[in-house]
Symmetry: none
Subunit: 215 residues, 4 copies
Amino acid sequence: MTTPNKVTDLFNQSVDDSDLSAKQKSVLQASLTLFSEKGFDRTSTSDIAKLANVSEGTVYKQFKTKEGLLHAILTPAIQQVVPKIANDFLTELLQNNNTDFKDFLKWLAQDRMTFAVENQAQLRILIQEIARSDGMFKRLGDTFMGKIAVHANTLFQKYQDNGQLIQWPMPRIARYIASAIMGYILPVILRNDHNLDIAQSSEEVAEFLYRGLKP
Amino acid sequence: MTTPNKVTDLFNQSVDDSDLSAKQKSVLQASLTLFSEKGFDRTSTSDIAKLANVSEGTVYKQFKTKEGLLHAILTPAIQQVVPKIANDFLTELLQNNNTDFKDFLKWLAQDRMTFAVENQAQLRILIQEIARSDGMFKRLGDTFMGKIAVHANTLFQKYQDNGQLIQWPMPRIARYIASAIMGYILPVILRNDHNLDIAQSSEEVAEFLYRGLKP
Amino acid sequence: MTTPNKVTDLFNQSVDDSDLSAKQKSVLQASLTLFSEKGFDRTSTSDIAKLANVSEGTVYKQFKTKEGLLHAILTPAIQQVVPKIANDFLTELLQNNNTDFKDFLKWLAQDRMTFAVENQAQLRILIQEIARSDGMFKRLGDTFMGKIAVHANTLFQKYQDNGQLIQWPMPRIARYIASAIMGYILPVILRNDHNLDIAQSSEEVAEFLYRGLKP
Amino acid sequence: MTTPNKVTDLFNQSVDDSDLSAKQKSVLQASLTLFSEKGFDRTSTSDIAKLANVSEGTVYKQFKTKEGLLHAILTPAIQQVVPKIANDFLTELLQNNNTDFKDFLKWLAQDRMTFAVENQAQLRILIQEIARSDGMFKRLGDTFMGKIAVHANTLFQKYQDNGQLIQWPMPRIARYIASAIMGYILPVILRNDHNLDIAQSSEEVAEFLYRGLKP
DNA sequence: AATGAATGAGGGTTCATTCAT
DNA sequence: AATGAATGAACCCTCATTCAT
C-alpha cells in the first residue's frame, strides 16, 4: 500500500504563504533554527536578530514577545503531531474496511516517520517544551483524545471484530503502537540524525506490532 | 518470579549520607525540586536559596557553579539509568538459565519502572537535558553500550538458542523492549503522575513483548 | 625656541569626533573621571552609569566589557605617551642640525609636560595600570624602543659628534633625560595638581640636564 | 667610602620578632606576595588564606580588615622610604663635614637602591597605593618634609658654602637627586627585575648628578 | 587560637522589551 | 516597516566579614 505523503509542512507553508514580509519570515526561520539547536531559554532575541540579518526591533514587530515566536513556531507543528489529516484517512478506512491491519500499521508508521523527519526542528523544540512544562504533555494528550480517539476506537473495534486485533482495551493497544513508532522517531530527533530508512523501518515496526497485537 | 527491589535511591542516599552540611543538603533538595518543576534555565540561584532557606552565597560554597548543582543532581541518576544493578542480575541470569524469557521481561520492566517512579524528579531533569543538548543522548547511549550491551547480547543469544526469542538482530529487539517500557514510564514522568501500578504494568508489557518477540 | 604645541588631546578629539552617541560619550567621560579618581577596580559600572546619567545596560552597548572601557580610554593615551609627534620633530632636527642641544632639551621637556598636563586623568590611570601589571611597563618600553629609539640614537650621535653631548651610552643618557622630566611630571599627576609652570620648569630642567650631560 | 648596609628589613624583622603566631606571620607573608603580584583589589582574602595555608577566619583574627593587612605591610615600608636611619647618618655628616659631595651622592644612591631591591614587594604595593589615592603621595611628601628636610637643608647649605653645590633652591636640587635615583629604581620595581648592579649604578648616577649640580 | 560554614551586599554582565527616528 | 540605542530588572557569581564550634 503506497500512501502519498499527505503531510504538508504547515510551517513552511505558513511562512511562505503568510503575509509576513521577507524579514519577518527570516525571523521565524532563525528562531526555528536556534530554538531547536540551543533551546528556547538559551536563545536570545539578539541571536535571532543576528541570524535573521534583521534589527532587534524587527523581531518584535510581528511577534510581540519571545514566547510569541515560540507559539508561532509550535502551533502548526502541534496541530500536525495530532494527525488531523490522517484523520481523513482513518474515516476512509472505516468505510472500506478491506485494508489489512498490518498494512494499516505500516502506513501509520510511515506517515508519522515521514512527518517526524520533515519536521525535526519543530519536534525537537516541542519535546523541550513537553519536558519543561507539565501543561504541554497533558494538552497534547487531550487534543489527541478529542480529535483521534473516536475514530481510532471504531477502527480498532473493526479490526478486533475482524479477528485481526487482540481484545485488549484501546488505550493499551494505542500505547504499544505509539511507543514502538516513537522508538524509531525519538532517537532520530534527539540525535539530529537525518538518516532514517523509513521504508524499512515502517515495515519492521509493523511486523513487530502485528505479531504482538494479533489475537 | 519476585524480584526484591534492588533499586536504592542513590540521590537521597548520597544526600543523607554525604558529609554535606544540613544547609548544603537543603540546597540540593531545593535544586532538585525547582529544576524538575521549572527547568534548569528558568530556575534562578536566588530561587534555590530562597526555597532552601539559605543565603545565595551558600549555594555557591559547595557547588561552585549553577551547572555544578545540575551535575551533582544528575550524575548519580545517570549512573542508574543504565542499570548497573540489573547488570548483576543479567550475569546471574546467564549462569542459571532456567529463567523464562517472559519472567525476565517482567522483571526488567518492574525494575526500571520502580527506578523511574522513585527518581521521577531527576529523570525529568535528565529528559530536559537530553532534549536540549545533542551530546547527552549520545553519551547516555554510549554508556549503555559500554555497560550492558555485551551481557544483554549473550543473554538474548541464549533465549534465541532456547527457542524463546525470535531471530532478529539484537539492537532491534532491544529497541522494542526499551520503547514499550518507556511507553509506560514517560507519561508518568512527563505528567508528574505518581500513580503507576507497577505490578500490573510490568505484567502487561511483558505479555505484549513476549507475544511480539517469540519466534 | 618656541614650539607650537602639537599635542592634541586624542582622547577628547576621538570622543568628540567619534560616531559615538551623546550617551556613549558621556559613558567614556564618566569612566575617565572615575577610573582616574578611584582607580579601575574601585569603580563600579553602576557608578559609571550613575555619573553618566545612563542605564547600566548602556555602558555595555558600545564597550562590551569594563576592561573594554579601560582600553578605549588608555589606547590613545598610550599612543601619545610614546611621542609619535615628537618623532616628526626629531626627524626634522636631524635634517637641520643647527638646533642647540639645550634648546632641544627644553623643547622636549616642554612638549612632554604639556602633554602630561593635558592628559593628567589618562596618565593617572595609565600609571595605575603600570603599577599593577608587569606586562604594561614592558609593553610601553618596547613600543618606545620600536618607535623612538632609532631616531633618538642618531640625534644623540649628532650632538655627541657636535661636542655638545657627553660620550655616554645612549640608554644612560636617555635615562637621565627621562627621569629628570618625570621629576616634574609625576608629582603633578600624582597630586592632581593642575598648576605647572611649564615655561619655567622646562627651562630649569633643560639647564640641569645640559650641565649634567655636556662633555 | 664604604657604607655598611644600615637598611634592615623592618618588615621581616617585625614579622619575625613580633608576638604573631606562625600562622599570622604566614598570613602577612602571603598578603605581601599577593598584593605585590596582583594588587590589593585583585587579591581576595580567600587567596591569602589559601597561600598562607590557613583558614579564612584566621586572616581576620589579627588584622581586623583586609585594609588592616595592607597597613601592617605598608607602615614599616613607609617609615623607611623616608630614611629614618639615613637621617642619623646625615646628622653625622653635618658634624664631620669632611665628606665629599660626590661621595655623599654615591652613598645616598647606594643606600636607597639597596633598600629598594630589598623591599621590592612592599614598594610595588606602595606605588600602587600612591597611584590610586591622592592622599598617599601627599602624606609621604609631608612625612619626608617633617623628618628629613631640616637636616638635608643644612647639609646642602654646607655643600653650597663648600663650593661643591650649585646655588639653586633646595627643593630643586632635591628633585633632581631624587628623580635621577628613581630613574634606576622604578624600572627595577615595575619590571620585577631583581638584577640591579648597585655598585655601578650608584657610581654612575653620582657622576651625573655631580656634574649637573656642581657650581 | 583557629576553623570554615554561612552571610548578603554588591559586582559585572545579559537580555527581553520599548521607542524615537 | 524597520532600525538600533536605550533601558532596567534580573542573573550568576565573588568576596569581605562574622560567628558558632
